[in-house]
Amino acid sequence: MSEAAMEHGHHMSAEEVARSNDNQKFAMWLYLASEIAIFSIFIGAYVIFRVREPEAVRAFHKGLGVTLVTINTFILLVSSWAMVMGLRAMQHGNRRGMLRWISLTAILGTVFLAGQYIEYRELANVEITLQHATISENNELLHALDLENVEAAREALGGFGMRFYVPTAFHGAHVLVGVLWALLVLWRGRKGRYDHNPVGIEVFGLYWHFVDVVWVLLFTLIYLI
């Protein structure tokens, strides 16, 4: 049976539809489990760096502040809310409402990516790069601190970029995929694909909320602790 036929629920009993829906959600949960393993490696690498090089992280915190990333965090939280409200609208038979909410999700995801781009540019301006870099003596992040051992801090700050960019950029790539997926859901939704069975929206929602959960943890671990 084709995916379209399943989503429309044609020629399937209620039990078959329910089983098919559960299978699709289970498949997504299994995929998310593999994502947990990948993100854990990046987060683990960052946590170890955080424990061993506290001065470098302190320089990052003091130098950049959390205003931009806090705004970005709120944007992602609201996008997750818009996502689940879109699913709710479809469950209530309101296709137009669903299209509006999922559009908002896609827009907020795009705004989040723009915010991340701005942040990366700011970081590049203070010599935080993906590759291990030699930080100059007059680096403004170092000047934000009252350091006893400037050389050690310069060395540590040089290694900060890799630990920072890998998890955040990998997360950003997931947001980008999510935005494209949202556009696909909108396109299919306009054709009435989810009118009788919105499991396709629910599966996309699992992905989008997972991306939100990862950010909730990254925000605290990288920007606040």
Partner: protein, 117 residues
């Protein structure tokens, strides 16, 4: 009633298409979808986190522990309510928790390994 109509009617009672009609919650005299209350809770917890994070120099280890607890509380809210783990099959929770527990234990172990080992 044709077979197809019957199927559609059965479906409408059992599939997620019609789940969630009673998903509103009244708090402080305000009735809103439970998802909106969760968003408000997430926002408040985030503001508390940012406040603690900005004062973490004075709070040190205690502040870090509180921040981690708040982050996991926020993650739990999203998973339970937005991802519907509160009401969905328990097997989904197992699929989530198994790699999560292994990952957390692995990271905790690696943190204790001395540098240069």
């Amino acid at each position: 009633m044709t077979e197809e109509t019957q199927n559609t009617q059965e479906q409408s009672e059992h599939t997620p298409a019609h789940r969630g009609h009673n998903d509103e919650l009244t708090l402080f005299g305000q009735t809103m979808p439970i998802y909106t209350w969760v968003l408000i809770a997430l926002g408040v917890l985030t503001l508390i986190e940012v406040f603690i994070g900005n004062n973490s120099d004075s709070l040190r280890t205690f502040g870090s522990i509180v921040l981690l607890v708040l982050a996991f509380a926020k993650a739990a809210l999203v998973v339970l309510f937005y991802m519907h783990l509160r009401t969905d099959s328990r097997i989904f929770a197992v699929v989530l928790l198994l790699p999560l527990v292994v990952s957390v234990l692995s990271v905790l172990f690696l943190v204790t390994v001395p540098a240069g080992y």
